[in-house]
């Protein structure tokens, strides 16, 4: 039975050559470029030859069934996979034309330029203020207390949480609600002035109201940042993104404008996934 299943998966990709749609953008519009990216966990290949551009001030949604490689791919974009010993990344990933896997690349400053927000809010066990100030402090972005105060306030305002926390900045961040914690984590990411914000299912632990606030925030942030978001909620992908990329078993199957993907996708696998059909 299992054997049959495997062979049908192989059949799915028989003749699969390249991504359908428009994965690439004009050079002047591109923030991140990936070319022929393969990712392996030990000898198991998780990502197969992904070519994809992510534009400036664009929200790109990555969708696909569990295990399709979308989170793995997202994490290659700021070398988060470096923390996994068995993980090996091949191919080119360029941020503003510079290969982030170059030997000379400072990973800490890379992660300031390409921030990430995770599924579960993970504030540090510190005060609300210190959570936001932590990044700028270790990166030496500001030296004077007044400047830091201003930076913390700006980041919290941009993350739409300032009004809720301005009177209790010295209290532990862990006392905030889940939705507030997630917005605090976004503020923490923004505080180090990134160019790109990666989001790995940022709303999956939140209720619909908190989710709506984060989605509203994503929309506002896209004026200044490039955002790549992995989500299991197709409606969320449809709501927040301008382009959508569909992954399936480690392959980037189709990329297109979100309007196109959700009304008339070209690939059968994309169609089946977003309409809830079984393969």
């Amino acid at each position: 039975m299992v054997k049959n299943k495997m062979s049908s998966i192989e059949q799915t990709f028989e003749g699969w050559k390249s991504t359908v749609g428009e994965p690439l953008l004009a050079q002047q519009d591109t923030r991140i470029s990936t070319r022929n990216v393969d990712v392996f966990y030990a000898d198991k290949q998780a990502i197969f030859g992904v070519d994809l551009d992510i534009g400036k001030n664009e929200v790109l949604a990555m969708i696909g069934p569990s295990g399709c490689g979308k989170s793995t791919f997202l994490r290659t974009l700021n070398r988060m996979n470096d923390t996994i010993d068995t993980c090996k990344v091949q191919g080119d990933i360029l941020l503003d034309g510079e290969n982030i896997y170059n030997k000379g690349m400072d990973v800490v400053s890379l992660r300031a330029r390409v921030g990430i927000v995770f599924q579960k809010p993970n504030p540090f066990p510190k005060s609300i203020y210190d959570n936001v100030a932590y990044g700028p402090r270790i990166h030496g972005l500001v030296s004077r207390r007044a400047e830091m105060d201003e930076l913390v306030e700006t980041a919290l305002r941009k993350a739409s949480i300032w009004d809720e926390v301005k009177d209790r900045l010295d209290q532990p961040a862990t006392g905030l609600s889940g939705g507030q914690q997630q917005r605090l984590c976004i503020a923490r990411t923004i505080a180090v002035s990134p160019e790109v914000i990666l989001m790995d299912e940022p709303c999956s632990a939140l209720d619909p109201i908190a989710t709506a606030r984060i989605e509203e925030l994503i929309d506002e942030l896209s004026n200044n940042y490039t955002i790549a978001i992995v989500t299991h909620s197709m409606q969320q992908a449809a709501r927040v993104s301008q382009r959508t990329a569909y992954f399936h078993l480690g392959r980037l199957i189709e990329v297109g404008t979100t309007d196109k993907i959700f009304t008339a996708p070209d690939h059968r696998l994309t169609e089946d996934y977003i309409t809830g059909r079984f393969g």
Binding site: Q235, I261, A264, E271, T275, G276, F278
Partner: protein, 239 residues
């Protein structure tokens, strides 16, 4: 784009809901075809009983419109349909609207039959009426058949036929005007025929709309307000 199917959702309930909407749309289509047929025969034979039947049928058509609209609203609210499912729901909603309007036009044709009967005359001598009537009924049938079989080529052919009907309609109106000028005693009768012709031509337009919905459903392309040769070219590129 690959062949559409609507029965492979993980949710069997969703499959059933889509199938329900599809089945009811086809039933409504059948009913409207029948209504047009009864209305047209009532006109050609100046049969007031048939005309009354056609007018009465409009109520059943309206009931079906309400029922299918309710079904599609529920699917939109509960299922958040996307891609082909979304196009299906949009196409069903639009087609239901067109079918209901066809029903209204059929009732208008029946009313002209009653008026002709009241004035003691018939549409005899107006050969164009029979010809356009046959063509329009064929268009309605083909457009519904194209929906049932998800056949974009058949839908395109309906759009071609509509252009031909529009031309014939123009010619028929000119002929009627000439007859009225030649013999003013025919004016009253000719006006009834003109109104019936106008309704038939409108039914043809609605059949064209249904065909456009079918192309949107099957090919994902909005072909409204475009020239036929451009549409043909566009669809060829997709194949």
């Amino acid at each position: 784009m690959e062949k559409l199917t609507f029965d492979r959702h993980t949710s069997a309930q969703f499959n059933a809901e889509l199938e329900g909407a599809r089945k009811h749309l086809m039933e409504m289509g059948g009913l409207v075809e029948q209504q047009i047929d009864v209305a047209f025969r009532s006109l050609m034979s100046v049969d007031t009983d048939l005309a009354a039947k056609a007018i009465k049928m409009d109520k059943d058509v309206n009931k079906m419109e309400l029922m299918i609209d309710k079904e599609t609203t529920h699917i939109l609210a509960k299922r958040n349909p996307a891609a082909s499912d979304l196009r299906f729901i949009i196409s069903v909603t639009k087609t239901v609207n067109d079918l209901e309007r066809m029903g209204d036009e059929a009732a208008k044709i029946a009313k002209q039959a009653i008026e002709l009967s009241d004035s003691g005359s018939g549409p005899q001598g107006f050969v164009e009426l029979r010809h356009i009537g046959e063509k329009v009924r064929q268009m309605v049938h083909m457009s519904l058949d194209a929906f049932a079989r998800l056949d974009a080529d058949a839908a395109l052919s309906v759009m071609h036929q509509d252009e031909a009907v529009d031309l014939e309609y123009g010619t028929a109106i000119r002929t009627l005007v000439t007859k009225m000028m030649e013999d003013p005693r025919t004016i009253s009768r000719a006006l009834n025929v003109m109104w019936a012709l106008r309704s038939l031509e409108r039914i043809g337009d609605h059949a064209r709309n249904v065909a456009e919905s079918v192309i949107y459903l099957v090919k994902g392309k909005d072909v409204r307000h475009k020239k036929l040769d451009k549409i043909t070219e566009q669809l060829k590129k997709l194949d």
